[in-house]
Symmetry: C2
Subunit: 344 residues, 2 copies
Amino acid sequence: MARGVVSSDGKRKPITARELARMIGVSQSAVSRAFTPGASIAPELREKILKFADEQDYHPNAIASMLSKSRTNIVGIVVSDMSNPFYPALIQKLSQGLQRIGLQSLLFNITKGSNIEEQLSALRRYNVDAVIVISATMLSGATLHWATEGRAAILINRVVEDADINCVCCDNVEGARAIADHFHALGRRRVAYVSGLSHTTTNLERQNAFITRVAELGMTLTGRVDGGEYSYEAGRRAALEIASKGNTDAIFFANDILAVGGIDALREDSGKRVPEDISVAGFDDIPMAAWPHYALTTFRQPLDEIVTVVVGMLEDGSCQPGQPSSVKRISGGLIVRQSTGPLA
Amino acid sequence: MARGVVSSDGKRKPITARELARMIGVSQSAVSRAFTPGASIAPELREKILKFADEQDYHPNAIASMLSKSRTNIVGIVVSDMSNPFYPALIQKLSQGLQRIGLQSLLFNITKGSNIEEQLSALRRYNVDAVIVISATMLSGATLHWATEGRAAILINRVVEDADINCVCCDNVEGARAIADHFHALGRRRVAYVSGLSHTTTNLERQNAFITRVAELGMTLTGRVDGGEYSYEAGRRAALEIASKGNTDAIFFANDILAVGGIDALREDSGKRVPEDISVAGFDDIPMAAWPHYALTTFRQPLDEIVTVVVGMLEDGSCQPGQPSSVKRISGGLIVRQSTGPLA
DNA sequence: ATATGACTTGCATACGCATGCAATATGAAC
DNA sequence: GTTCATATTGCATGCGTATGCAAGTCATAT
């Protein structure tokens, strides 16, 4: 099984289509066509070439292919915060979904401090076919436009109204209302809301829908605390603040990681029983929510469906520039666990 | 500010070095050199070209550059399990570290089910400059060799003895011994060990070092349970199994996610007090370990140092094929929290 | 037997940048 | 003024694949 030449420095020099073609006695185009689905080539010749290619360990050079096709099959994934377990879970499913249709994931992990456009410059230099932004925040509208301008782009879990951008997002309104209804059904009447980053669209949607529904149901909003970040610690602080007032019997946290912190603080620092004294609900359904210790009632973000929709848009080209942009709302589902219960 | 031509389908066609050169009245080579650090070009000309480039929004096409330099500046990162929070944290720091030296991260999220070589085929087609494998398992030795053959490669947190491969790994022996010593100092004498995947090198090293040290200190190993996976649930099951025997006063879990599950199970299902009845220690120091609810004593993996070392190896080329491979052990540190304490 | 068309195949070139080499310019030394 | 070394610059070509076009093959229809 002849392999590519190995030079003195140990690097393998793979054989090229031209070399393979010469061995077989066909043109380099034939080799290219053998590897191109739907290309004009006789089935027998394709078979023969693929067989030789396999023997010679020939693989088409994706770089050269990119250059001539000006298509990279690479999707840039922009993330800013992997500390919320929701994101790793999403990224994992997403990258696997992309891989399934032959797309690779170039990860852009942006940091607060330094120049973001500089961090994203590779997005443009590398000519990624599409950009998927999972970062809830961190990107100003201008930066977002700069990064996505002229190429396929999808925001996940973030909605930008004015801009002409595709968004795929869980139905936050549905979720927030479901939580409010659930609280109401349990007999809870004095409820509070805890936000993570108050200006993110996910938060605004959940918050507004929750507060609106709470009012519709005739419940009392006893508090609205902004944690300042989506973190366990922020959840703790917010819970303590609410508990100290003593007039709340149910809290809806903007997401699970906040809620988890909240539960621990309520039980361990405020001496409250969850769910008896205060019921707690979150949003996302991260793995941790299912842990018996938390058994967190939450509104599940349908990761698989979100990924399916995103991959579908990439596949059918409906997110290409020039196409009308759309905002797709994916329906989630209320998951009732033991962090909520009827009023004692 | 002239930008690239926008064709009817909305895609931007960036201007090329040749076009920019023509505008300025220099050769295309000059433009190339202006963007190449250390190239032979007059400082004033470089300035002038960069200024024009900025005005015209010209960016070197990385794809074309890859083709001619046969260097992609892309590092393939192979991961298999993002459900353990340790990995997202590592990936985040790693990708940021790589970015700092101009390398991009192509993420390969491999799945158990299907053909792994197929999942990794893009590693070769895309000519990544280097491969970093963070997957503790999932890759057989043969696949590992296939994936890394002939290119720079580094395994993180996994050591392969026979193969000629670079490894960067926390000092598991140091950590396991530190835990054993800590248990001993607290007066614990009947200790147990819980593994995740028993055949992984991280596990074997921690397990052997722990058991050896336990024997040296004259302590009794009351149990050794294999969880079968690194997960919260596995930790729970193992803890329950150990607790049911009632003869153990300290458990060392192979990593934090197991330990966290163990703590919850001990407290909530076995009615044990942690740390009074059973002390619990983990390994990694994931963010969760610091949560007050767990306050997990653990051995910290020095993420920043690991990343620094890996990035350094990539930068100085010491992980290039042809160079002698090395196994670098990074020293960690014992973090004592409240999940361990003196015998009641 | 010739024409028509459907398929295959090879040729030649484009893709955009990097770089060895030759050419030119600049300045210093004599 | 001349010579030589150094610093810049342009020219021309290579990197490996994709693809429009023309040429070729073959079978069926006329």
